[in-house]
């Protein structure tokens, strides 16, 4: 076991990236993720890497586009309004099939919103965000240790699938301090050789990295089909989910990221009161762990979706479970977060509701 050190989530993610061999970071300050560029500006020179404080989020993501094409493990980070600005570049990176990590420590929106934690960028993260038919691998850690581990994995998945990965955190995950075991990086996959790198055509034919496909006429159709095939492959190979006391649960809470931590506390409180409550937590938001959700839904009476938004994640839950059980909702945006007590109250109201009275489906 490695030594446990005390770091903020934002610093944990940065150190994990450094450990995983990330050697290029470009970003622009925005609360609540400022520790990331600050940490990177200090650490990158120590490891021979590059830190650039970009003139904008747009420039930052395009610098990452260049660095990735140049063969570096690279990343950028921001929070909600800044991630909106990056969407152009993300679309290009996805279209050109370049690996990189993008982190979104979500804050309240829409617009400038506030700097409190939020989960209102779910749609933007998992459904696209930028233009065109593309997908990002989206990860939702619930602790700083998981953030550390997933950040390392993210670079492997990005390289393995040649696809950008989005770390979907929130202001609390970025700001909270927890002991983290700094584990050395070890690749979790046999990584393919990067045969797309632009480093000068000495000894080989010139390479092109591009997203414009004008010729042949059906070229872009073919490229899109190729992308979709890759996405189906990722869906079949990568799906992570965590379950807690769902086996005998009458009600299963579905929550991701920091909300799932609070939900877990509520599950404990409910169990102490004799209520059979469990928790299902997706770790990959895309691919969505549909099978796990479906199985849980068939074995329980009701699902309660809790999220820090007015209902985005709930749509994927409903799609996954194929109406196998009723779904209730608890959520608000704008920086609101649920307490264990609020969740418990909602659970109690569900238990006494007519749906529950009918018993198991």
């Amino acid at each position: 076991m490695g030594k446990k050190i005390l770091l903020k989530g934002n610093e944990v993610m940065s150190e994990a990236a450094i450990q995983a061999g990330c050697r290029f970071f470009a970003g622009y300050p925005i609360t609540p993720q400022n520790e990331v560029p600050e940490y990177m500006s200090r650490r990158m020179p120590q490891v021979g890497g590059v830190f650039v404080q970009a003139e904008s989020e747009i420039a930052a993501i395009n610098m990452v586009f260049g660095a990735s094409a140049a063969g570096a493990r690279c990343m950028t980070s921001s929070s909600s309004p800044g991630i909106s600005l990056k969407q152009e570049g993300i679309s290009y990176i996805a279209g050109a099939e370049l690996p990189c990590l993008i982190a979104n420590m979500q804050r309240g929106g829409p617009g400038l919103g506030n700097i409190r934690a939020s989960q209102a960028d779910y749609f933007q993260a998992v459904k696209g965000g930028g233009h065109g038919d593309y997908r990002l691998i989206v990860l939702a850690p619930a602790s700083t240790q998981e953030l550390y581990n997933l950040t390392m994995n993210a670079f492997d998945w990005a390289d393995y699938y040649r696809n950008p990965v989005l770390m979907l955190g929130d202001g609390i995950l970025g700001q909270m301090t927890e002991p983290v075991e700094i584990l050395p990086y070890e690749p979790i996959l046999d990584l393919p050789e990067k045969d797309f790198i632009l480093d000068g055509c000495k000894g080989r034919d010139p390479r092109v990295v591009k997203t414009l496909v004008l010729r042949p006429a059906e070229g872009l159709v073919d490229h899109n089909e190729h992308l979709q095939k890759k996405y189906r492959r990722i869906e079949s190979e990568l799906s992570l989910c965590d379950e807690y006391r769902v086996e005998d649960a009458d009600i299963v809470i579905a929550a991701y990221g920091i909300t799932s931590r609070i939900a877990k506390g509520a599950v404990r409180m409910a169990r102490e009161k004799g209520m059979k409550v469990g928790l299902i937590r997706p770790i990959t938001l895309w691919p969505f762990p549909k099978e796990s959700f479906k199985k849980v839904a068939y074995d329980t009476s009701q699902i309660l979706v809790v999220e820090m938004s007015h209902g985005q994640f709930i749509e994927d839950v409903k799609l996954a479970i194929e109406a196998a059980c009723p779904v209730e909702f608890l959520g608000k945006g704008g920086g609101w977060y649920p307490t264990e007590e609020i969740i418990l109250e909602k659970i109690e109201s569900m238990i006494t509701s007519p749906v529950a009275a009918k018993g198991r489906v």
Binding site: K4, L6, T31, P32, I115, G171, I172, Q175, M176, T177, E178, P179, I258, R261, I262, K264, G265, A266, R268, Y337, T339, E340
Partner: protein
């Protein structure tokens, strides 16, 4: 194993070293192999405004990182007492820096540790250690963590800066422990 979880809030003026208190408690908790989650209220205020931070220490996995009703509060100035006193949980505890707080707690269910932290820090010769004076008082009366873990945490935190900083902070810790009072008998579970 009984689940023992303590939620603590620390509050004062920006610049009083609120974050450092949280850092030291968290480091000491790690030394004792406990779980800990810390959070700093982040915002636009850097100096002079009110600052607060929270720490949760548990012998089990910590679920929610949020502290809505702290079991204990370390309060270094008057406005923070006004703000946090109503939020402290029933039969909780408040530590007050009496140098900066002129009133007693309004609630009768709270145990109250009093320490003249800013004055003691002034006597020690470094106003910036009033936070650690408060930690000394806090640990002395709550025994939430062992004094040796706190000493170790202080050494770890300040050793890469200046050696004399470790010394003055340890002095602040012990003086705070000695020169503080607790107004109600405590029953720390």
């Amino acid at each position: 194993m009984d689940r023992q979880e303590t939620k603590i809030v620390m509050a004062g003026f920006g610049g009083q070293g609120i974050v450092v208190i949280g850092n030291i408690l968290a480091r000491a908790a790690i030394i004792e192999d406990k779980n800990v989650v810390g959070m700093v209220c982040y915002g636009a205020e850097m100096r002079g405004g009110t600052a607060n931070a929270t720490v949760i220490i548990s012998n089990d996995e910590i679920a929610s990182p949020f502290v809505n009703h702290p079991d204990m509060a370390i309060i270094l100035n008057g406005p923070s007492l006004d703000r946090f006193e109503p939020e402290i949980s029933q039969d909780g505890l408040v530590l007050m820096n009496t140098s900066m707080i002129s009133r007693d707690p309004r609630r009768s269910d709270l145990a109250c540790i009093k320490v003249n932290a800013t004055k003691i820090a002034h006597e020690i010769g470094n106003l910036r250690v009033s936070n650690i004076v408060s930690v000394g008082a806090f640990i002395e009366h709550t025994r939430l963590l062992s004094i040796s873990s706190i000493e170790q945490a202080i050494s770890d935190l300040f050793s890469n800066k200046k050696a004399e900083l470790v010394e003055v902070n340890l002095k602040a810790l012990h003086t705070g422990a000695e020169r503080s009072t607790c107004l109600q008998p405590l029953d720390i579970k």
